[in-house]
Point group: C2
Chain length 387, copies 2
DNA sequence: TTGTAAGCGTTATCAT
DNA sequence: ATGATAACGCTTACAA
C-alpha cells in the first residue's frame, strides 16, 4: 500500500486537486479550465478564483510526463567564452524561439565525461532535442549520441557512417583559403598556430595547412608550426615560442581567440601587423573586428551552421523517422587590415578603420574584402550590462 | 476509463515494464536493480541483461516527478556575448557542479517578456533553482521572482524590500573609483559613455559619475556624457558622437564592451591612448587584457558575485525556509596601460605589455595596479574551437 | 528478497 | 459540461 494522496503536497504548494477542491469541482474540470478548454462560465469563474486564491502554479514536470515534451532545447558547446559559439547560439536561439521553445546552453569545458554526462541526463527527456558541438569524439560519446532518446544534431565533423544528423564545414579548405591569400600577397614564411591535434578541428586544420603549402610548392618548416589550446592565452604563449626561434612573415591561427593572442605577442615583440607579419584568424567572430588592426579571418559559417542545425533538429522532432542527414556549409575568407597590405609595402595603414583592397583571390575562391569601416557588429537581440 | 497500459510505449522506447517483463520479474524488482538498491544476485543478473538487451534508458522526467528534483540549475542573463557573464557563469558552474548538479544558461536578450516567460517555465519545476541577473526589473518580473516555485537568487540590484536572495555590488562606488583615479592622474575633462538610463546598472552608474565629479568639485559638462546600449558597436558610435562635439582627456565606459568600442573610436580619430585620452572600462573582463593598450577597468567582482549567488542558491535549495539574504561584493579598480600614464607625459609606453605604475589611489580606495605582462587570462576549464 | 499497488501532478478518455 | 479514473514512467511503502 502506498501513501494516501495528499491534497496539499508536502512542500505545501497547491496542485489541481487543491484548486478543484476549493472550487468545488472535479480535477478534470479544474484541469480543463486551467487549460482553457471547455467549462461553463460558472465553472470557469470558480476555478479561476480558486487558482488565484491559492496561487496555483502548474507543475511542468508532471505536464511533461503526460505530454511527452518539455518545450526545451539544449545546446552543448565547449566554451561559451569563445565568441564563435555565441554567434552559433544566437542563430540557433532565433530558430528555436520561432517554434515556441526555449534554448538552454551548457558549457562542457571540453571535459568529455562532462559532455557525455550531460547528454545522458538532459537527453533523457528533460529536453525535446539537443544540438552538440563536440571537439573531441570518443566511442562512448558517439554511443551516447546515437542512442539518445531525444533527437540530437551534431555541429562539426563526425564519422561518415554515424547515423546522426550533422552540419559541418570544411575547415581544411578554410585553411587553404588563408594560405592562398597570404601567398598571393607575397608571403612565403607562413606560420601556423593551431589547437590540440587530438581534437577534430585541430587535426583537420593541421592537415589543411600542410596540404595547402604543398599545393604552392612551399616546404613546411617545422619551426613555423606551434600548438596550444584554442584560447587567447595559449595563442599568445605559442606565438611567443614561435617568434623566439624563427621569423615568419605571416601567421595563420586556428581560431580568432588564438589570433588575438598572436597579435598581442607580435606587437609586444615589436613586429608590425601587417607590414612585418600578416595575420589571419579563423571563425570570423566579432573579436576580429574589435582588434587593431582588424583581423582577417576565415569564416566557417558558424551562424549558418547553427541555423541549419536548429532547423534539422526541429524537423526531426516533428518527424523522428527521417533518415540521418548531413549538410555542409562552405568556408570563406574575410580580408581585413591585418593581412591587407602586400609584403613589400613599407608603411601601410594601421588605422583600425582603414579599408584594405588586398583581397587577392586564391585558387580556392571564396574571398571577401571587408570594408574596414563597416558599422561594426550589432546584436539587436542583446544588451549585456552588469546589474 | 483511460487507455490500457502499454508495455511498449507508443514511441517504442523501453520502460521499466519492458525490462521487468523481459527479465521475468516485477517492475519493483527491476527498478530496485536499476537503482542499485537490493536484489538477489540472480535477479540483478537478469534485470541487467534485459535492460541491456532492450537498450533501456530511464525517463528522467518521470523520475523527477517522483523525486521532486531534476539535478538542474539555470542561469538567466541578458547576453552571453558579454564576457562578464561568461566569467560569472564559470564561477557559478564550478559551485553548482560540486553539488552534483548541472548548469544551464539562457540568454534573454534583454527582452523582459522573454525573461519572465523563462522564469515561469523553468521555475515550474524543470530546474531545482535559478540564478537571474536582470538589467531591467518590472513589477511583473518581480512578481515572477517572488512567487517562483523553486528557489531564485538575483545577481544585481533589487528593491530593498524584495524578499529574494540577492547578491549585488556597488557600481556607483565603482564609477567613483575610476573618477578618483583619473583626477589623481591630472585629468579634468572626463567623459562618460553609459548604457541605457532605464536599466538598473545604467542608472546607478550615471548617478555614481555625477556624484563623484561633484565630490571633486568638477562641473559636469553635458557634452561629455553619452548613452548607447551596453554593446561594442554602441560604445563606438557613442564615442564618435562625443568626440565630434568635445574634447575629453579621459573616458569612463559603463562596461568593457563599450570601452573597446571607445578605444576603436579614439584610435580611428587619431587620439593616443592614454597620452591624449585615458580610458577606463568596467567589469574587468578578459577583453580588457586583450586590448592594446590593455584597458584599466573597474572590477565589479562578477565571478565572486556568481560564486556567492550559487552558494546562496544551494543553501536555499537545501533549506527553503531560510530568510531572504542580501550580500554585497565591493568593486575595485584595476589600473593598466590605458590610463596608466599621467596627462602631461608626452610619450608613454604603448607597448601592450608595458606595466604601469600610475596606480594613484583615490579617496575611495580599492585600487590595484595590474602588472602589464601578466600571464594573460587562462581558463583551465575550457577549450573552445570550431569543430 | 520479492511483488503489489499507491502515489508524484498532470492530461485525456469515457460515460454520464 | 462534468466527474471518475486511467495513464504518462518511475520510486517506494508495505505485505508476503
Amino acid at each position: 500500500m502506498g501513501r494516501k494522496r495528499l491534497q496539499e503536497p508536502a512542500d505545501g504548494r497547491p496542485t489541481v486537486h487543491t484548486v478543484a477542491a476549493r472550487a468545488g469541482v472535479s480535477i478534470a474540470s479544474a484541469s480543463r479550465v486551467l487549460n482553457g478548454v471547455g467549462g461553463s462560465p460558472e465553472t470557469i469563474r470558480k476555478v479561476r478564483a480558486a487558482a488565484a486564491e491559492v496561487g496555483y502554479v502548474p507543475n511542468a514536470i508532471a505536464r511533461s510526463l503526460q505530454s511527452q515534451r518539455t518545450g526545451l532545447v539544449a545546446l552543448a558547446v565547449e566554451d561559451i567564452g569563445n565568441p564563435v559559439y555565441v554567434a552559433m547560439m544566437r542563430a540557433i536561439e532565433s530558430v528555436v524561439a520561432s517554434s515556441g521553445r526555449q534554448l538552454l546552453v551548457h558549457a562542457t569545458g571540453g571535459r568529455i565525461d562532462n559532455e557525455t554526462a550531460l547528454l545522458r541526463r538532459l537527453a533523457n527527456r528533460y529536453v525535446d532535442g539537443m544540438i552538440v558541438s563536440p571537439i573531441r569524439v570518443t566511442d562512448d560519446h558517439l554511443a551516447a549520441l546515437v542512442d539518445s532518446p531525444v533527437p540530437v544534431v551534431v555541429v562539426g565533423q563526425l564519422g561518415a557512417d554515424a547515423p546522426v544528423d550533422n552540419v559541418r564545414t570544411d575547415s581544411r579548405h578554410g585553411v587553404a583559403l588563408a594560405v592562398d591569400h597570404l601567398v598571393a600577397g607575397g608571403r612565403r614564411r607562413i606560420g601556423f598556430v593551431n589547437g590540440p591535434l587530438d581534437t577534430v578541428p585541430g587535426a583537420a586544420r593541421d592537415a589543411g595547412f600542410r596540404a595547402a603549402l604543398a599545393g604552392h610548392n612551399i616546404d613546411l618548416d617545422a619551426h613555423l608550426v606551434e600548438v596550444g589550446d584554442f584560447q587567447y592565452a595559449a595563442g599568445r604563449a605559442a606565438t611567443e615560442r614561435l617568434l623566439a626561434r624563427t621569423d615568419p612573415d605571416a601567421l595563420i591561427c586556428a581560431n580568432d581567440l588564438i589570433a588575438v593572442g598572436a597579435l598581442h605577442a607580435l606587437l609586444a615583440a615589436g613586429r608590425r601587423v601587417p607590414e612585418d607579419v600578416a595575420l589571419v584568424g579563423m571563425d570570423d567572430t566579432d573579436l576580429a573586428r574589435m582588434m587593431f588592426p582588424q583581423l582577417s579571418s576565415v569564416s566557417l559559417g558558424s551562424a549558418e551552421r547553427g541555423r541549419r542545425a536548429a532547423e534539422l533538429l526541429l524537423e526531426r522532432i516533428a518527424d523522428p523517422t527521417l533518415p540521418p542527414r548531413r549538410e555542409q556549409v562552405p568556408p570563406h575568407l574575410v580580408v581585413r587590415a591585418s593581412s591587407g597590405a602586400a609584403l613589400p609595402a613599407p608603411r601601410a595603414a594601421t588605422d583600425p578603420g582603414a579599408a584594405t583592397t588586398a583581397g587577392a583571390t586564391g585558387s580556392h575562391g571564396a574571398t571577401t574584402t571587408d570594408p574596414g569601416v563597416e558599422p561594426a557588429p550589432s546584436h539587436p537581440s542583446s544588451e549585456g550590462a552588469t546589474p
